[in-house]
């Protein structure tokens, strides 16, 4: 009985700590959202308030009156993220398929190589990458943010781990007997089997591509090509220095869609994080 009471006490303490951490997670975003509807004067008098005010449209006018253009940033980010995700998932699955189903001489060496390059961060090679792109006059071309996704070593590794137990060679062989070509088998039989793994990986590739700041910051100089994180970095500059209402609104416009999508997909995303860590 006393043991149960003891657990009850511990449970309460744990619960309170969890509530505090949850508040810590939500509070900054709450302040951001509420302040996006308040005027700069109101914010300067009392920066924390839980009551929205009526200055949303006025803030919007100030925000859009300068170089911050969320629609352009949103569109460019969408193009880059969708294309990069499609390429990364398709070609990573294809590469994993080539490694799992076929026997070729360099197979083992190839896989060891993929394992070795998994840890190389893109930032380290950025100077050479920039010089290369600059030489071929492609710095403001979104393709340079998309095409590198074809070679995503971490995802190949994950796909291979998932494919090995999920895909049996018999399925492939019986399709061959029915006269299906290798491409046809991959596109029509293997891809559907890999759907759950592709969905998980697609979410994370999309998010990391969407949030990427470093590469676009270096490559893009044309405002019409700016992705959303670079648009966001404009809010840090001198042009909005004292327009707090507008800054909070700009931040809200970039964060709120992510928060909403996250809350809808949170079940899959959290399961995906857990899965990725165990397998990869």
């Amino acid at each position: 009985m006393s043991r149960n009471n003891h657990h009850y006490g511990t449970r309460t303490v744990i619960f309170i700590i969890c509530v505090l951490l949850a508040v810590l997670s939500l509070f900054p975003f709450l302040v951001m959202i509420v302040n996006s509807t308040r005027s700069t004067t109101q914010i300067q008098q009392h920066a924390v308030s839980l009551i929205p005010s009526g200055y949303f449209l006025k803030n919007l006018k100030i925000l859009l009156g300068k170089s911050f253009n969320p629609a352009v940033g949103f569109m460019n980010s969408l193009i880059v993220s969708v294309c990069a995700t499609a390429l990364a998932t398709y070609f990573s699955t294809l590469t994993a398929y080539g490694l799992v189903i076929y026997d070729w001489r360099l197979k083992r060496a190839y896989f060891s190589f993929i394992m070795a390059i998994m840890m190389i961060p893109a930032q380290i090679t950025m100077i050479g990458f920039y010089q290369m792109v600059y030489k071929i006059h492609m710095t403001n071309n979104l393709l340079m943010l998309i095409l590198p996704a074809i070679a995503s070593p971490t995802m190949v590794f994950f796909m291979k781990q998932y494919m090995e137990p999920a895909l049996s060679i018999e399925i492939v062989q019986s399709a061959r007997i029915d006269g299906a070509g290798e491409y046809y088998i991959f596109n029509n039989i293997v891809l559907p089997i890999m759907k759950p793994a592709i969905a998980t990986q697609a979410i994370f590739t999309f998010v990391s591509s969407w949030n990427n700041l470093f590469t676009p910051l270096i490559l893009l100089t044309n405002q019409k090509k700016y992705t959303l994180p670079i648009m966001i970095s404009l809010l840090r500059g001198d042009i909005y220095k004292t327009e707090f209402g507008a800054i909070y609104l700009g931040l809200t416009m970039t964060a709120l869609p992510l928060i909403v999508v996250y809350l809808f997909l949170s079940k899959y995303i959290i399961a995906g994080v857990a899965l990725g860590s165990v397998k990869g």
Binding site: I14, H46, V48, G98, T125, M126, G128, F214, Y262, V278
Partner: protein, 324 residues
């Protein structure tokens, strides 16, 4: 016959991995080698692409390694990573222990996980600028709360105080990543076979003992994974320090990635020095990962392999002797 058929399909292995190979060579291998080469040249100045090798090939590396600014950046990077990783891991381990302990079922566990992980999904650029606004002076939200509840009498200008700015960057990193680490660790614990925990319970182990003697040793691989990925991420930290305080005040939040960016794309556009710094960081990352893998390698497995090798050698020897 069978062999012939196999080799007939083998070409598809090469064909299907070809796009990866080509993309890797163009977008990863070539830039890496190019970066390494640039480190030995005089390439600088906006819009320049032609270069000459320096008569003293290691001049850039020497300049960087003796530069006090690089020392500051390196110390900051390591310091910020260590000081964010320790609380992050402690918090994640605590939450893992609580959420996986069968004796206390925490109500709303799923909702807590969703909320703890949320900061991780938001664009780091947004988070950095949001915190810059939250810690604003004189009347940012944090100053507002601290003065309203009487913790401080007059507002503090956090963004010009070196230690405060550094502490905030560390806090942001911890805040963004502990939820991720927690989910990863929980999935590791759930992967442990329940029989081990049953056995521990039968043996009368308390929660603390179970955690240290069963849980931690069994998630060693996952801990290594967390440590290595966090270290690599930490050594490349860019978005938060760059956008929170532009590496300032007085270089207090300058990380090596911000340093590389400033060298190459600000001021005199010294691509050569930035490339040299990148290569130095590349070597540091490789060395650190190898050391971590070695430190946390599966000791039992390594011992087993050693015994096996020993046996092989003995067998080999005795075979030789027998042959003689």
């Amino acid at each position: 016959m069978k062999k012939k058929k196999k080799s007939g399909y083998a070409k598809w292995g090469y064909i299907f991995t070809l796009p990866f190979t080509i993309a890797f060579c163009i977008f990863s291998l070539y830039p890496t080698l190019y970066t390494a080469v640039i480190g030995f040249t005089d390439l600088k100045g906006i819009g320049k692409t032609s270069f000459h090798f320096l008569s003293d090939p290691f001049a850039n590396f020497r300049t960087i390694l003796t530069s006090p600014t690089f020392h500051t950046a390196f110390a900051n990077t390591i310091g910020i990573w260590v000081l964010n990783f320790i609380p992050q891991l402690i918090l994640a381990l605590l939450l893992t222990a609580w959420f996986t302990d069968r004796r206390f079922k925490i109500p709303g566990e799923g909702a807590f996980k969703v909320m703890f992980y949320m900061p991780n999904i938001i664009t780091a650029a947004t988070v950095a600028i949001l915190f810059n606004a939250l810690f604003g002076y004189p009347m940012g939200p944090v100053n507002d709360l601290l003065t309203r509840f009487g913790f401080i009498s007059s507002p503090i200008n956090f963004l010009v105080k070196k230690n405060a700015a550094r502490a905030i960057v560390i806090f942001i990193q911890t805040w963004m990543w502990y939820g991720y680490t927690m989910i990863v660790l929980i999935s590791g614990v759930l992967g442990i076979s329940p029989e081990i925990f049953d056995a521990a319970e039968v043996d009368g182990a308390n929660g603390w003992q179970t955690f240290w003697m069963i849980t931690i040793p069994n998630i060693r691989t996952i801990l290594l994974f967390t440590l290595v990925t966090s270290l690599i991420g930490g050594l490349n930290m860019f978005d938060i320090p760059q956008l929170f305080a532009l590496g300032g005040p007085d270089n207090a939040t300058l990380t090596t990635s911000v340093f590389i960016y400033n060298q190459a794309f600000k001021g005199s556009y010294m691509y050569n020095r930035a490339a040299a710094t990148s290569m130095i960081m590349f070597i540091v990352i490789c060395a650190a990962s190898i050391v971590l893998f070695w430190l946390l390698r599966d000791k039992d497995e390594a011992a087993l392999r050693r015994v096996e090798r020993e046996n092989n050698r003995k067998a080999h020897k005795s075979g030789k002797e027998a042959a003689r």
